[in-house]
Symmetry: D2
Subunit: 381 residues, 4 copies
């Protein structure tokens, strides 16, 4: 979030904030914290950092109780995201306890348990008014990107009222932390944009955590068939357990042929790209039926070749989307009803203090059969 | 807005606010203002009242430059709305200049010209997140209802960031003040809920200001035919000028018969109820075609008889709605493009100081051929 | 179907048809059949009738293998439907084998197994082009109403190409005959019109066969909560087995109070009326949340009082619909995928020859715990 | 239309048809007609051909009174469409009088004036049921492609009931013949797929006849701004007359820059590609705003490079479509209401007998300032 665009507190307020900071006993004894810090390509450290403080009227400070690692964090560590600079605390997923709020915050107070959304939304700009929080003029994906993130003992959340979600004190944190990013991403970018309907034939290309989130949430709409396509048989096996009706290992280069055979040449109603490379996009555009949808979820680093010479008269719809997290309240209700069990995506658990090991495991996902790695704070209250 | 549900400033903040109030020079010289005050059924006065001050972090104080009177204000004066109590300043429409903002306001600053929305939206609650600002848990229609309104020299606007709209300094205030209530009401409750489409046959029952707002905005979607139905030939004549294709005076009780004849017995795709009494609702349910929509805009005080024994198999959709004012940005763009000319609804102009005469005229709308009455501040800057 | 609106074959064609009728061997030996015939209020008989023959180019003759009885048939027997006259063969649900087709039929041929839709659609008129088959200008609900129906050994189906659906030779007829009427009715009029979404709170008022069809198909969209409201504990018990999350017996008059308590005063996102009397409609309008939908499925014989004085500002949508059976292909896919098991609605089975007993049972549904009664032909091939 | 998939008349019927053919007097005296015939790349002739006769039950024979030439006809003449073979009569647009119908035709009779749709729809298959007539399993775009077309004195129209549209005897044929292809194409593929809304900013790339059809029909929805982008100033001038608000000649390579400047860097809500080459597609993908739509209308012969590395997080929707002509009834109503004046696209008129000159003019569109060329039959009745 660009400092220029936020409402900086005028002096009297700053004083007030400082006073508030001085009040809690634990705050007095601990003005630093531990955090996972990026130090340029390939370099990360679990190190001492100053504890964040309220800067803007709309801020909240959250003590992290559960966090996790995203594939995007690995991209950052490769140096792929120039917006992330040396010294940045990573992480955009988490659950925690509100420690303190700015005077503009009206929905949360100290002690509330909250889910942190990976997308920060001011709730006021033209994009937020259109529920396109991903493009919020004062937020969007900034946590662990342009401002410090959630892989830390504490995090500052700007625009807290519209970027945090209240959850019950006894909530299943391992399940709900999947709602910070991965489940709304799969649901909004894959399922909603793909317009999955009862009776549909759906193909999901990529059985990583996000592809599996598409798989879980596609079932909200009772498609008749879900093809899961991946190179890794272990992941495909997980997909089967999570509801895929047909598994296709694309290693032999025959995925398109298989899908077309299995659909009597018609192709699929919805093809979801959940990898982010030209080869998987190509599968999607080759298998989409006339009148079908290609929903892109993957993060792409290169252009793709779009076969408009074949598709111009096929009545297809192709969508892209950065998750808006507008469906977080809906997903919370569906989890609560028992119809969605996000815990199924969790394969490993570490103490937040052991996050360096967590990264080692997650970076080696294929060998470790890792999907989502839970990081659990053990800070005594 | 119920005081209980708003975030009252804690003491240190109150002090701060008071200080801010003392700063502006004009504030020092004028701690009172003139306002149109309701004093129980049939009683209104243009009298001295304390000037409003910032109470909550999200407030703005707006100096009114243009206001107007709504049919709802007349209802209030009849004593029909128990939520409005003795001493209340009326008015929920207006344009003005921001005088002061609370510390939680980030989108506006002193000196900005703004349109006041008749609906106050916190932008944070579950209803606001669903763009149902009308049911905002901390707002909704509160101005001139449960808190003081815009028929005054100054007004306090809670949740200013999401309840005010920036307009250019040289904006046509007479045109834009129609966007406080009447145009979004006609557009959202009548046209959008009625799903007007190109080529449609539309009937609007009631050619008062709101019915005419439906008429103006229905034309955004190029319906083929617009029947305007009313008892008053003068209003029907205005409707003709504003784009109605067929006028039907319903005084003879044959409106339904006429519409059915003119549609070869099919009825209309969209019937908009813009009066609020059983008789006009009955016309709507009698003329809606199979597969059609009845969009209720009128404020009803009594139940109606719904002929489900005739309609159960007619595939109709009936909607109700309190305006959400979610389309205000869209309407601002359409006015700016010249495709909507709301000034056409203005028939009379008074100085704000002469608002008592304005009410006399508007209360006697039929005889005075009054539609919208503009109230213009003459306060020197 | 009004004779006036159909394309009667010119003379040479009639001759042709007659010839065709004479060709099949079985036709020669059997020019009559048994059928359930209406003879005025309270009178029905299983009697000899002439076997139907092709009359129009688009006709098919279907030999019925499975049929069932609908609540509407009981209404007819009470004399409630003046369109049904003495001598009419009842029934609008069925599965069978195509015996013969007119020269305009291109999608079916002798020997095909087909599902008969309760709605006949010409596929050509303005309503059919808009997928409103229920209002087809040459069809709609005519079977067992204005033309002879399916509770017979043979039935003539006009506009066969767009009124029959191909099913596999080995299809589960007991399951699929539920797709003639009850499942598309529950799905289209209740679930689709009610816009059920993941996480929604849904209330279904009426646990008869159609209400249970709403219950089964609502689950395609993963609502979080489904209240089932009825007077009969036995039916509520069935609803529990079929997926209702909360049962409310409305006999004590506290159904509205219960729903409001259970929803913390908010009411339900979707209220489905599946009975057809003012009392159940009243429950629906009292429990619908702001922004919610009331989807009427019931067949109403009287007007209802609609509380517009309470609902005008609640942003609700109320829909009515005669089933269009446009979702039949979708439902066939969902049944095939195993995600919908319509057999659960079947409680009794009779030979078609014993249809008089079937009616006795179904007419006494409460005592017999009857939902759907299957009628199975035993005609040897 | 593949012969294999149609219902060929059985013998007795054939006889009947033959008899009908013999009845009309004019048929006896004229068993041949003149037609524009394709004879391989670059070769066309206005020559004698047998008059078409009813082949299938659903056929109609139409005597052409008005036809026109499409850009696609020029593509065919270049040899670009391998489906079009030597001897084929070209043309898929036309208005005429029904001369004769097959026994399966129920909506038309001899003497009716009709509009021929460029898309033939059986009305029965799965695609037609979904209103995707373009992909009809027995039709689609076949006229002047795989079966003989409308640039002739007579044409056979299969599935006449769902492929012809009744128009009044005194209809403005020059206006309505634009509804055979160009207007539904612009409207469905450009405007509806682009989801043009009131207040939107729209860019249309390509001011040829189809781009201008997008321009005319986009105005049904009252966008605030319409940029028209083309290389030809003469066409841009026409666009201005037809409602474009801003003209951009892209010859200097700065079209993208201009659009971004004029939209303050935001880009457009809707970008319509109406040319069919990579360069114009590139403009569209470069100017679409976050949350915007790219609607492809152009016929593409080559793949394009899609910049997913820039677009993956921009929440855009890209659509392709072959016109379904499902909006023909709507367009007929809008023309009738005077809100659409398709005659504005007509620049030249020829007798049908002079069609060879008509082709010369249309092939040289830039120099001749040609948009649509009307071909008018002068056959005496």
């Amino acid at each position: 979030m660009s400092e220029a665009t936020t409402t900086l507190f005028a002096e009297p307020a700053e004083t007030e904030v400082q006073k508030v900071n001085h009040l809690p006993k634990e705050a007095l004894t601990a003005s630093t914290m531990k955090a996972l810090v990026y130090h340029g390509p390939g370099k990360r450290a679990w190190e001492e950092k100053p504890r964040p403080a309220i800067k803007d009227s709309s801020d909240a400070i959250v003590r992290i109780t559960t966090s996790t690692i995203c594939g995007t964090d690995l991209h950052i560590l490769k140096g792929d995201l120039p917006t992330v600079t040396d010294g940045r605390i990573l992480g955009h997923e988490g659950i925690g306890i509100v420690e303190e709020v700015g005077p503009g915050v009206s929905s949360f107070k100290k002690g509330d348990k909250v889910l942190v959304s990976c997308v920060t939304a001011c709730g006021k700009c033209d994009f937020c008014r259109k529920s396109m929080y991903s493009h919020c003029r004062h937020g969007g994906w900034i946590l662990g990107n342009t401002i410090d993130g959630t892989q830390a003992e504490y995090v500052r959340i700007p625009w807290a009222d519209t970027s945090l979600y209240a959850i019950p004190p006894d909530a299943d944190e391992e399940a709900l932390v999947m709602l910070s990013d991965i489940l709304p991403t799969g649901f909004e970018c894959g399922v909603l944009n793909g317009q999955v309907k009862p009776g549909d034939t759906v193909a999901i290309v990529g059985a990583g955590p996000v592809g599996l989130a598409v798989l879980l949430t596609a079932q909200f709409y009772s498609p008749a068939t879900i093809f899961m396509i991946d190179l890794d048989d272990k992941r495909l096996k997980v997909a089967k357990e999570l509801g895929a009706t047909t598994l296709i290992n694309s290693a032999d280069g025959n995925a398109v042929k298989r899908v077309m055979e299995l659909t009597d040449g018609a192709g699929v109603d919805v093809a979801v790209e959940a990898v982010g490379v030209p080869a998987t996009f190509d599968i999607c555009q080759a298998i989409v039926a006339a009148g079908g949808r290609v929903a892109n979820v993957g993060v792409h680093g290169k252009p793709v070749e779009l076969h408009l010479e074949k598709l111009w008269d096929r009545n297809i719809t192709l969508t892209t989307r950065l998750v808006d997290t507008v469906t977080t309240p809906l997903l919370l209700k569906v989890v609560q009803s028992g119809k969605l069990q996000p815990r199924k995506l969790v394969t490993h658990r570490f103490a937040l203090n052991d996050i360096m090991k967590g990264y080692d495991t997650f970076s080696n996902a294929a060998a470790e059969s890792a999907l989502k790695v839970i990081l659990k704070s053990e800070t005594p209250r």
